[in-house]
Amino acid sequence: MTESSGATAGHGTGDWEAPVISDGVPDRCLQCTIRADWGHFRRIDRTVTKQTYRIPPRTTIAGLLAAIAGLDRDSYYDAFSLERSAIGIEVLEPVRTMTMPSLGLGTNPSETFERAGGTGRKTVQVEYPDSTTNRQIHSYEYLVDPAYRLSIATEDQAVYETLANRLDAGTSHYTPSMGLSELLATVTTPEAVETSVGSVAGDGTSVSVASAIPDATDAVIPQPGQTQHVERVPAAMAADASGRWTTDYADYAFAGGESIEAAPAELSLGTVGDRAIAFY
């Protein structure tokens, strides 16, 4: 897939300089589109049931980009922190969800796991779900034909460069997926994977924003007949030796496949190609 964009010429492989982000808007960014037949971004307020967010949480996008770049678990939160990175998310298709039951093996170690081999102390022991027990029905809510275009900037030179090289070459270190490992995603990029970010022209009162509007839902100007979603998702994480935790949540407003009119004052807006993107 090729998308038109204002390309920044002159980059060869390996020659990518990390953008500068001021007031939340980068001077340039990488672009890619992720699509899949199905998606599932499990909501954090659910364990008994499995509903999905309509928009991938910013933390999930960071994880997806880290997978493409091949970064270790827990190593990339700083590169995608709110201070050092800016991400714009466009929801390209109308949001459609479907709930489906699926059968699975239980994973409770004390109930449905089998062990084989040695003691596990000096000799190897393997643990696996007992495949002879009854399957359990779990119902999942899936996104149908989800597609998102991402505008990505991080000031972390190494991460930016690795990611740019991967996207430019059309390769990925780990397999990209739309939330769950079995929901494979395709990643496509415009011919020039990096593009400059321009300022946003407008009358100062209203701008048609192509991306979801983060953390400023009161900037949204409602349009008759337009179905707007507002969703609160995890936005940033931090980690130490004990593990990782959520450090920020953000409300995203979006209308699947359509632009949203918004007051520009509260947003970190930049122009990518011919589209106004709200970065967060």
């Binding site: 364990t47 109308p94 709930t99 489906m100 994973t107 004390s110 179905t227 920020d248």
Partner: protein
């Protein structure tokens, strides 16, 4: 219902937009606290005085407060007395009560509720001893309170109580005091302590205290802090083993967004979240729950407080618990108080909420949104069947209005003698079609409660607990205005028709088909249908003739760009010389008009052919039953749900030959019976005789429109009679 205190609403209303279910739950909690009016102060959210309402003296029913009076002014703590006296409502505030729901164990506050069934003096002594010994961590069973006692500047108060509770003869002392005063009955008992203390020795002096005096738990900061510590310990330890570390840490609260101490194991009144699902999440570490489900104590408490209001906004339909939670995205204090009036009223559905909202806050009602969740709870196995965070009344009302327009003979010919079906004339008891179908409010209810979708679509998973139930798919689409692919709708319609058909008993699912016809047309009128194969004529609402007007769509919204006045008018038949209207002419008029008004038939010759083949079959089957007394009619032999293009091609010559045979039999002047249908049928498919035809229509399209045709044909004669009665020549035929 008390008006909520605006100051408390202001204090606890989440900042920013109401953008998640958790924030709605917290908003409802803020309203519950504001209604109770006691959430002021540092510990306000923790108190649950409402849980003592069954323990205060009411009328002749006496309930008792047993108080251990302790003196902490001397060298060592001393039990001076135990009083057992009626618990008056005015006493409740000073008790600082906070309940811990599980039946076993003790309450969070040192004040404790005894057994619901009543307690005797022995049990009461037990409660009092536990206040002094167990709650204070005397035996090490309440480490959170023990820790607090070590850290709090007034922690010595708890330590002293524990020391008193640990005395060998404490039980004896308590028993002596209690037995003197205990009533003969076994009343409900609340047990507490009252402490004589010098406020000068406390870092946190009791409010308004001037000198040595006796204070109850609600008045002493250290006892309240102990209560809070115990509550927070429970928040972080729910479902954890004793050996597990607690689930708490520093992070961003998912409700407030603020950096705070967050907990991972907060109770969810909806029970969608627990930390025990190891069978679904391999290697789940319950102690790490705070990392992803991070919630501050305040938000967790508000969510618990809001549980009752959430429940009030639900009802059960068809085995599914449906929560319809009204909210405003941008919610001011005034908005929140409006919401309180709404959710404490009778309404539980979008239609009712909207009606009441119009009365209570007409200026704000258009901003009202609904968080709709459908839950199936099969003995604790909880499944969310659908969940729509942002529903407005707009689409359901629009669909309801469009349906009403379709059913009403003033505005549509679909169920009218002029052109349409008999419907269930005279029987107003059938859902969606009789009188009920003409009232927008009744239909609004049917749309939002799901019966509108359940009465037309396949019910494939009656036994299974969860599924992608097409009926829920349609209901969701109607709630949210999501476009509905007409191809899928037809396919689900046909599947349901097959379910409804019982050929052995002459059941053709006619009622369901009528509702489907009305629904399809209503959805087209509401602008919700979309064709994935470019068949826009299927998604275009009927064009209207004459005086009939469509009230939901502007008259110019026709596929061909025409307006009503541009439409060729079908001339009403002239009476014959003897002044009678010929039935065959009326049948022809009706058929021509029905087709002409409907782009799905008028603009697609092939579908028109399918429909007309159905009409002819319906007419012939009716004739077979009526005039030839046949049990096994053509309709039984060629059910619509088995129709295909190939079968249709084979059926065509059979219909034609039957028609001419019956014409001969009836000594008809015409060579064909129902020639008005046959002429149009041949016209529709004439360039490709059906027997040689390669049908392009998808099979569900063929089946549905064949079914529509069959039902139309079965009604044709009786509707023509009806029309003749309405247009007796003595009356001017104003429709002509």
């Amino acid at each position: 219902m008390a008006e909520p205190d605006p100051d408390i609403v202001e204090q606890y209303l989440p900042d920013g937009p109401i953008s998640s279910l958790r924030r709605i739950q917290a908003l409802y909690g803020a309203l519950a606290e504001a209604e109770a009016g006691d959430a002021d102060g540092e510990f306000g959210l923790y108190y649950t005085p409402g849980d003592l309402s069954g323990y205060v003296t009411q009328g002749e029913d006496t309930r008792y407060l047993a108080t251990a009076h302790v003196d902490l002014t001397g060298e060592s703590p001393e039990l001076t007395d135990v009083s057992v006296r009626p618990l008056q409502p005015s006493d409740v505030d000073m008790l600082g009560y906070a309940r811990y729901p599980p039946g076993r164990g003790i309450d969070h506050s040192i004040t404790h509720r005894g057994a619901k069934g009543g307690s005797d003096s022995e049990q009461t002594v037990g409660y009092l001893k536990q206040r002094l010994y167990r709650w204070t961590n005397g035996g090490g069973a309440e480490p959170a309170i023990g820790e607090l006692a070590d850290e709090h500047p007034d922690g010595w108060v708890i330590t002293q109580l524990a020391a008193l509770g640990g005395k060998d003869d404490i039980e004896e002392q308590l028993t002596q005091h209690v037995e003197q005063e205990f009533p003969a009955t076994e009343p409900r008992v609340t047990a507490t302590v009252a402490i004589t203390i010098d406020p000068g020795e406390l870092e946190h002096a009791p409010e308004g205290a001037s000198g040595v005096g006796e204070f109850y738990p609600g008045q002493l900061h250290v006892l309240n802090a102990g209560m809070r510590a115990r509550k927070l310990e429970k928040l972080s330890r729910k479902n954890l083993e004793d050996s597990d570390p607690p689930s708490r840490g520093q992070g961003a609260c998912m409700v407030t967004g603020k950096e705070a101490e967050v907990f991972g194991t907060a109770q969810d009144p909806l029970a969608f979240y627990t930390v025990q699902h190891a069978e679904k999440f391999p290697h789940l570490s319950k102690s790490d729950a705070w990392r992803s489900h991070s919630i501050s104590a305040e938000a967790a408490l508000l969510i618990q407080s809001g549980g009752a209001f959430v429940d009030e906004c639900s009802r059960t339909r068809g085995g599914i618990r449906v929560y319809t939670l009204p909210y405003f995205v941008d919610c001011s204090v005034d908005d929140a108080i409006d919401l309180h009036r709404l959710i404490t009223g009778d309404a539980t559905s979008i239609g009712d909420y909207h009606d009441q909202g119009e009365e209570l806050f007409p200026d704000a009602v258009e901003r009202l949104r609904f968080y709709v969740i459908g839950v199936r709870n099969d003995s604790g196995d909880i499944n969310v069947l659908f969940e729509e965070p942002s529903v407005t009344a707009y689409w359901p009302r629009r669909v309801a209005q469009a349906h009403t327009t379709t059913i009403n003979t003033e505005t549509s010919t679909t169920f009218d003698s002029t052109a349409g079906f008999a419907g269930l004339r005279g029987d107003s008891s059938f859902r969606h079609l009789g009188q009920a179908g003409r009232h927008p409010n009744t239909m609004l209810r049917a749309v939002v409660d799901g019966t509108y979708a359940r009465d037309t679509l396949e019910r494939p998973f009656e036994e299974a607990p969860v599924s992608d139930d097409p009926r829920e798919w349609l209901t969701q689409s109607l709630l949210t205005g999501q476009e509905i692919p007409v191809e899928r709708l037809l396919s689900e319609y046909v599947a349901r028709l097959e379910d409804e058909t019982d050929l052995a008993n002459d059941q053709y699912g006619t009622y369901v088909l009528y509702v489907q016809i009305a629904q399809l047309e209503a959805l087209a009128r509401a602008g919700l249908l979309v064709s994935q194969t470019g068949q826009t004529e299927l998604t275009t609402p009927p064009r209207m003739h004459d005086s009939t007007t469509d009230t939901t769509e502007p008259p110019t919204a026709f596929a061909d760009g025409g307006t009503p006045t541009d439409q060729p008018s079908i001339a009403f038949p002239e009476p014959t010389d003897d002044g009678e209207l010929k039935l065959s002419s009326l049948r022809e008029y009706r058929l021509a008009r029905f087709i002409d008004e409907r782009p799905a038939l008028a603009d697609n010759p092939e579908r028109r052919g399918v429909f007309l083949a159905g009409v002819l079959l319906g007419q012939l089957a009716h004739h077979q039953r009526r005039n030839r007394d046949m049990n096994q009619t053509l309709r039984d032999m060629h059910p619509a749900h088995r129709m295909t293009g190939a079968r249709l091609s084979r059926l065509f010559p059979e219909l034609i030959s039957k028609s001419s045979a019956y014409a001969t039999e009836m000594k008809s002047s015409s060579t064909q019976l129902f020639s008005e249908t046959i002429e149009r049928l041949i016209d529709a498919v004439g360039d490709h005789p059906p027997s040689e035809r390669d049908w392009a229509l998808p099979v569900e399209d063929i089946r549905f429109h064949f079914a529509v045709g069959t039902a139309y044909g079965a009604d044709a004669q009786s509707q023509a009679y009806e029309l003749r009665d309405e247009h007796r020549p003595s009356e001017p035929a104003d429709d002509a």
